[in-house]
């Protein structure tokens, strides 16, 4: 009698030929904004290095590099602006044509955190823009336009963590959960930069409280995190650096609290560097998630420049040089790897960031 089970194996049709534009839209999800984030962070780092040298009164070998860094900083700025504009357009198109996919992103516990990244990227770009350009832009309006979505997403996500049973923090906590807090801290940093002290303080306080909770939760029970997304673990030290930058901007100097946050991020950086086995699985295949290696290191480097400015000394200067060169190295490596693997990024489905 027909009680047998027929298993039919159909060969999957892979389209290696030129992919239609719509499939490109299906692939460009919010995770691609990490590229822009890294570019923006690098631009900020270069700007900080240059402006530090402007203020430096002592002769140091870095002053000579000012002439070299200057054009690079401009180039980086333009590059990040173009990339950001491009990916933003693509994502807007995706929202228009593939709303279903965007909704799927919102409900996935990892992808929803990446929704903060576009706003953070634009904020970083704003921060990296030179003053004469900023003066011409209605940058207060821009700032409002960028901070408001972060606040809205905050309310939605943090509320979900506390009140929802299915999507509570203990159920969804993973290293990408640091991204909302990075959004808060970068927003506070940008707001303090234009003088909105109370807004900055508010954003900072909310971000700090949730950072403490996420920090404890992740330290306690980090299990079963996708190996391909392990690069996002660099956010462990990226977030305290962002907090350090925000607080130094708010408080006007690099006080003890900033130093403590900076040292914490240094320690976590050292701790992760000493565990190469943790990242072994994720470095086998290149993916967009690898861009998450770059921007936390840039954040630490920016914080170290401020630290070196505050604590003048050979050790601090050396640390700044070390971290800046590390950040540059990682960034260049990512650029090269992306250039070598553009086909994979644009045509093939990225397994690490596919949320559908």
């Amino acid at each position: 009698m027909a009680n047998s089970i027929h298993i039919v194996v159909e060969p999957r049709k892979t389209d290696e030929a030129a992919a239609p534009a719509s499939s490109l839209l299906t692939r460009v999800n919010a995770g691609y904004f990490t590229i822009c984030l890294s570019l923006g962070a690098q631009a900020v780092l270069l700007n900080t290095l240059i402006s530090d040298n402007d203020r430096a009164t002592t002769k140091s070998p870095i002053v000579v590099a000012d002439r070299v860094l200057g054009p690079w900083a401009v180039l980086m700025l333009w590059l990040s602006l173009c990339t950001l504009a491009l990916i933003s357009c693509l994502y807007l198109l995706r929202c228009c044509f593939h709303l279903r996919l965007v909704k799927a992103e919102c409900s996935d516990r990892v992808a929803v955190n990446f929704l903060f990244v576009p706003w953070i990227s634009w904020l970083l770009l704003l921060r990296a823009a030179p003053h004469r350009v900023l003066a011409r832009l209605p940058h207060e309006v821009l700032l409002w336009a960028l901070v408001a979505p972060i606040v809205a997403l905050d309310i939605k996500l943090y509320g979900q963590w506390v009140t929802s049973e299915k999507r509570s923090l203990s159920a969804v906590a993973n290293p990408t959960s640091h991204l909302p807090m990075v959004g808060n801290f970068v927003g506070a940093w940008a707001a303090a930069g234009v003088g909105w002290r109370e807004t900055a303080l508010c954003l900072f306080a909310v971000g700090l409280v949730h950072y403490v909770v996420v920090f404890i939760t992740l330290y306690q029970r980090l299990t079963g995190f996708r190996a391909a997304l392990r690069p996002v673990s660099f956010l462990f030290f990226g977030t305290p650096s962002a907090a350090c930058l925000a607080w130094s901007s708010i408080s006007g100097g690099f006080g003890v609290a900033c130093k403590m946050l900076f040292f914490l991020s240094l320690f976590l950086l050292a701790s992760l560097m000493c565990r190469p086995a943790y990242f072994k699985k994720s470095v086998k295949k290149f993916s967009v998630a690898w861009w998450a290696y770059s921007f936390p290191v840039s954040f630490v480097a920016v914080a170290s420049t401020q630290y070196a400015e505050e604590v003048k000394g050979a050790a601090a200067g050396g640390l700044m040089l070390l971290l800046s060169s590390l950040s540059l190295l990682v960034f260049v490596a990512m650029l090269i790897l992306t250039a070598l693997n553009t086909d994979r990024l644009l045509r093939q489905n990225d397994p690490s960031l596919s949320f559908t």
């Binding site: 403490v212 920090f215 404890i216 992740l218 330290y219 306690q220 029970r221 980090l222 299990t223 079963g224 995190f225 462990f236 003890v256 130093k259 403590m260 946050l261 040292f263 914490l264 240094l266 320690f267 976590l268 050292a270 701790s271 992760l272 000493c274 565990r275 943790y278 604590v311």
Partner: protein, 561 residues
């Protein structure tokens, strides 16, 4: 019936081949000379039913000790234990065997020297499985022995420690477990010397600091304490530190495997911070008459090992896996965290600016995580003691030292220090009130490590009383110092009693000798005879622990990711 059938053959096989080399050095008849062949025979027969020889093959399976001739791992026991003996005769015994069977005083090998009868059962725990010791004996010119195959010891996963051990310090073997070393013999001293012995150094050196603080602070000057007490304590702690460190260094050299297993033990690993913290205490307690200011590089040298250990241990907590914090959190983890604060305190008192802030920040972040985790008492946490135990006093350590460190870093006992200090006092009082529940607990050397929080709280109170100078705070300071002193004195008496009168200060360290695989008890229930226990008691034990095992199995399964 099978037992009866096998029993005679077992005796026959073992008595001729195995007794000579099998039982090793403790076997008295091997050291008898050939003229006493008749006695040998008697003794041999006696030994064939002695405790060290299991009377039944099944029983033997339950109590397998790992011998160096045994090249198989513990997991699959051989089909018949006798085959093992058949296949591996010990050639050394042949001369003796002839003598025994012939019954005359045949030329026997000269009375074996001690190193020939070196108990090979401990070799798996020795450095390079005993090769180091053999090299050393070769250097001394003794004859080389035959080198049987050594068992490679793998790394024990954390789950095995939880399964095999119980108790608040995870050092009591569960009855259903088997260990790799003989249970009825007293192991070599080095194997019995746990890393928690460094707790003695912690306890005594913190006393030195306390007496130094009492004699040098303004608010306690009315007590007229002489600085000589601090000197005496300091010299005693130096001597203790040198002694304990030397012994443990010897253990490192000769029993590397045992040290490795202690490192993998979820509770003992925290005691690896203890030597460095004790060194920091020694630096803090230096009598003013010897040295007023210490060189700054000394601080960096002292903090480097702590930093390296921390990167490793905190990284383990963070990266998940089998040693994640939700699974292994226990009050002894405070030892991993308090080192940061102690280092910050020492650095700030030496005048260093940035380093103390670094360690204070790390300590604060990780202390918060640990504190919340312990307070939560997560169901996945397997190491929290169910009942109260002196280990809980470690809760008081971190806030009290943190308050002192912050005061030194900032320059005065300000709000941050006071908040930390009051937290420490609250925890101290909430534990002290429950002192009734601390009775009836087995003493262990690690208890010395639990005294330093009380001393630390006393020192913090002295500092607080110098900031807030009135009669209440002074009285409180005096009371706490008295309590700390009394506790240390009582502990000293207990230690002396255990060391000299009871003689069990260093019992066999079960925690390091657990087997790497779970003993096969899931399908076949074994009867575990232990010194001729009655069958009823055995049944009770069997039922009790089989149930516990089932419950454990059920509980651990849903705890997975």
């Amino acid at each position: 019936m099978t037992k009866d059938e096998e029993l005679p053959s077992l005796i026959k096989a073992i008595s001729d081949h195995e007794v000579a080399g099998f039982d090793g050095v403790e076997d008295p008849h091997t050291s008898l000379s050939g003229t006493e062949a008749v006695e040998i025979e008697d003794v041999r027969e006696m030994h064939s039913v002695s405790i060290s020889m299991p009377p039944s093959p099944l029983e033997h399976k339950t109590k397998r000790v790992l011998f160096d001739d045994d090249s198989t791992n513990l997991a699959p026991p051989p089909a018949a234990p006798t085959t093992m003996f058949y296949s591996q005769p010990i050639p050394k015994a042949s001369a003796l065997h002839e003598a025994i069977t012939n019954g005359k005083s045949a030329p026997l090998p000269p009375p074996p020297r001690v190193n020939k009868l070196r108990d090979k059962r401990y070799d798996s725990f020795k450095t390079w499985s005993g090769k180091l010791e053999r090299q050393l004996t070769n250097l001394r010119g003794r004859p080389r022995e035959r080198e049987p195959h050594r068992v490679e010891m793998g790394s024990v996963p954390v789950d095995r420690y939880f399964d095999a051990l119980e108790g608040p310090e995870l050092d009591v073997l569960r009855p259903s477990e088997e260990i790799l070393l003989p249970e009825d013999k007293l192991w070599p001293f080095l194997l019995r010397f746990p890393v928690s012995s460094f707790g003695i150094c912690l306890g005594v050196s913190s006393q030195a600091i306390m007496w130094k603080t009492i004699s040098s602070t303004e608010s306690t000057r009315f007590l007229h304490i002489s600085p000589h007490i601090n000197q005496v304590f300091w010299f005693i702690s130096i001597a203790l530190m040198v002694a304990v460190a030397a012994i443990y260094a010897l253990k490192l050299v000769f029993y590397w495997e045992a040290v490795r297993r202690e490192y993998h033990h979820p509770i003992r690993v925290n005691f690896f911070f203890a030597p460095w913290i004790a060194l920091l205490f020694l630096a803090m307690g230096v009598p003013p008459s010897i040295n007023k200011t210490l060189p700054k590089p000394l601080w960096y040298v002292l903090m480097t090992p702590i930093f390296c250990l921390e990167v490793k241990i905190y990284g383990q907590w963070m990266s998940g896996g089998q040693r994640r914090l939700s699974k292994v959190a226990n009050p002894c983890n405070h030892l991993s965290v308090v080192g940061n604060f102690v280092g910050a305190l020492l650095g700030a008192s030496m005048g260093i600016k940035e380093g103390p802030i670094f360690f204070f920040a790390i300590g604060l972040a990780h202390y918060t995580v640990l504190f919340v985790t312990l307070y939560q008492r997560l169901p996945t946490n397997e190491t929290l003691p169910k009942e109260l135990h002196p280990v809980f006093f470690l809760f008081v350590a971190a806030p009290s030292v943190a308050s002192m460190a912050w005061a030194k870093m900032v320059g005065s006992f300000d709000f941050g220090s006071r908040i930390a200090y009051f937290i420490a006092m609250f925890l101290y009082l909430s534990l002290a009130i429950r002192v009734n529940f601390f009775r009836g607990i087995r003493f262990s050397l690690a208890w010395w490590a639990y005294t330093f929080p009380m001393t630390g709280a006393a020192i913090a109170t002295i500092r607080y009383s110098s900031a807030v100078d009135n009669a209440v705070t002074k009285t409180f300071a005096v009371i706490l110092c008295l309590v700390a002193t009394l506790i240390v004195a009582a502990l000293l008496v207990t230690t002396v009693v255990h060391a000299f009168i009871l003689g069990d200060l260093f019992p066999n360290d079960m925690a390091i000798a657990i087997s790497e695989r779970r003993p096969k008890s899931s399908t076949t229930r074994r009867w575990y005879h232990r010194r001729a226990a009655s069958s009823d008691a055995a049944v009770d034990q069997y039922l009790k622990f089989s149930d516990a095992k089932d419950v454990e199995v059920v509980e651990t399964q849903p705890a997975g990711p």
